[in-house]
């Protein structure tokens, strides 16, 4: 949107991010970048610090030190709301949706459309249902009814709703933690399609994944993490699954610290 992949400005630029949990060094000075209109993948073994890193970018956790720039602007988020207000949306692996609420309630949670004047402001349910339907159809997501509760949806449908929620607002960056981990083959393909659509709309998409085939298929840029550090940054076109496995397991070391 404001920055094209070619003008040199990064959508997200995280520099020297350090995070300790007690005596555990979760992140030891991590730097990554992500471009608008691209999918940027972060890969690494369990405990490599991927989730901690995206939680910091998303404002859920606070870094001990380091800097984050969003489209060139230095930003500091203390809450997820602040990150969201700046255009960063996150789809969590486990913190996806509220099962007992309906699809439209989930799509509009904390962004409810209201009618009336304070203190008598009421939910504009009709408008939210209509807009929820529009949001889902815009991304070609098929759901029986926006009035259905999330509990009754399949994993793929849930993820589609969660991604629609992330993409449906004036977001510029969408972060996804293992978006297809719990999905079957067909549903995974659907979600990957959805990710492609977000990318082609000019969003910067950051994905955590364990699936190397998927990473190579989906992304332009790959960051490899190990034990709290980024050990390599690669263009997806220039690498292979074997190289990624070698980097993650430590069979191959890299030039970067």
């Amino acid at each position: 949107m404001t920055a094209s992949p070619d003008d040199g400005a990064w959508a997200v630029e995280a520099t020297d991010i350090v995070k300790n949990f007690g005596s555990v060094q979760a992140l030891r000075g991590v730097s990554i970048t992500a471009r608008a209109g691209e999918v940027t993948s972060i890969i690494g073994d369990n405990g490599a610090g991927k989730s901690t890193l995206i939680k910091i970018i998303a404002g859920v956790d606070k870094a001990d030190s380091g800097q984050i720039r969003l489209f060139g602007e230095p930003v500091e988020f203390h809450t997820p709301e602040a990150a969201r207000a700046a255009g960063i949306e996150t789809v969590y692996q486990t913190l996806g949706l509220i099962e007992d609420l309906t699809i439209w309630q989930n799509l509009f949670l904390d962004r409810e459309l209201m009618v009336g004047l304070p203190p008598f402001r009421f939910l504009n349910k009709r408008a939210m249902r209509a807009k929820a339907l529009a949001m889902l159809s815009e991304l070609d997501v098929h759901i029986p009814s926006v009035k259905a509760r999330v509990r009754g949806l399949s994993g793929g449908q849930r993820q589609a709703v969660a991604i629609s929620r992330a993409a449906g607002w004036s977001s510029r960056v969408v972060i996804m933690d293992e978006p297809t981990a719990a999905l079957g083959v067909r549903e995974t393909a659907k979600v990957e399609e959805l990710i492609h659509r977000l990318k082609s709309r000019g969003l910067a998409v950051i994905v955590i994944s364990h699936n190397f085939d998927q990473v190579l298929r989906l992304s332009e840029q790959i960051w490899v993490m190990r034990q709290g550090s980024v050990i390599e940054g690669l263009r997806a076109a220039d690498t292979s699954g074997e190289e990624l496995v070698a980097l993650i397991t430590g069979a191959s070391t890299s030039s970067r610290g």
Partner: protein, 335 residues
Amino acid sequence: MPDSKTSGVATMAAPEAPSLTRRIGFTLKSPYFWANWTVVLALLVALIVFWILSPDTFLTPYNISTILTASAVPAILVIGQAFVVMTAGIDLSNAAIVTLSAVSFGAMFAAGQPLVLCILVAVVMGFVAGSINGIVIAQFKINDFIVTLGMLSLAQGVALVISNATPVQVISEPLATFALGKVGVVPYIMIVAVALLIIAQVVLTQTRFGTHVLATGGNSETARAMGVRTKAMKISVYAISGVTAGIASIVLIARIGAAEPSMNTSLLLNSVAAVVLGGVSLFGGRGNIVGPFVGAILLTMILNGLIVAGVPQYYQFIAIGVIVMVSAILVRTAK
């Protein structure tokens, strides 16, 4: 539902839209339907049973009025408890807060303060005690069970100190009128309870606050990640529970004409039972206010019906216990 053996005929008849029978079948299989309607069905069944048991005395205008009068205090109290349980919490201190608010009212009244001020003090006491519950639970992340159990003792103790363990007679013309007046068979105090019910139900279903309460109960961590101020929601529901306890105390004083420092244990048990009967998930995230409200009336009606039918008093406890367990089984849904 798949188009297989069970609904083959219906699907052939209406290939496009789901037929009425299928929709009814689907509705009857939905746990949400049962959670919402069990209490109403139970109320109807109880009405019929007691009517058969005592055909001449149970469904008289006098007795209906008696049931509604006795229902008002538990029905008001259950509104707050329902909000708390929807956040996956529980308030074990609500009945003790009723006592605290009542004796605060009594102390003010005995000191010759105007009625309006007494009422205000009762409500504020409830609000303060409830807020303390909420703040300790949300801010210090202490188990709701422990905190409200502590408040139960705390509020009861303060009530005993304030009242010096003696009841205060509250003789007030307006309060007496309020307690005894009726529109048809419906006592004024029940009208107040219904008014509170309507406000609460609107707040739950038509406001952002209500949605956020349900979101907090459904999944607190997810709700927080989605921007819901879950701590504020938790504090608010306990404050609401405190306020309903304060209001309930005023109705209680109006009914008995005195502010008593006695424990109201049965009020606590009834409020929890009514919430379960009313289909509010004890895991939070799901429920409405009307169900628990009807549940509170149902429990009062069962006690009344047993008395009218001449069942010895001790069996009433057994009946309530069985009803609560059976209803919990009926409304249970997988989590």
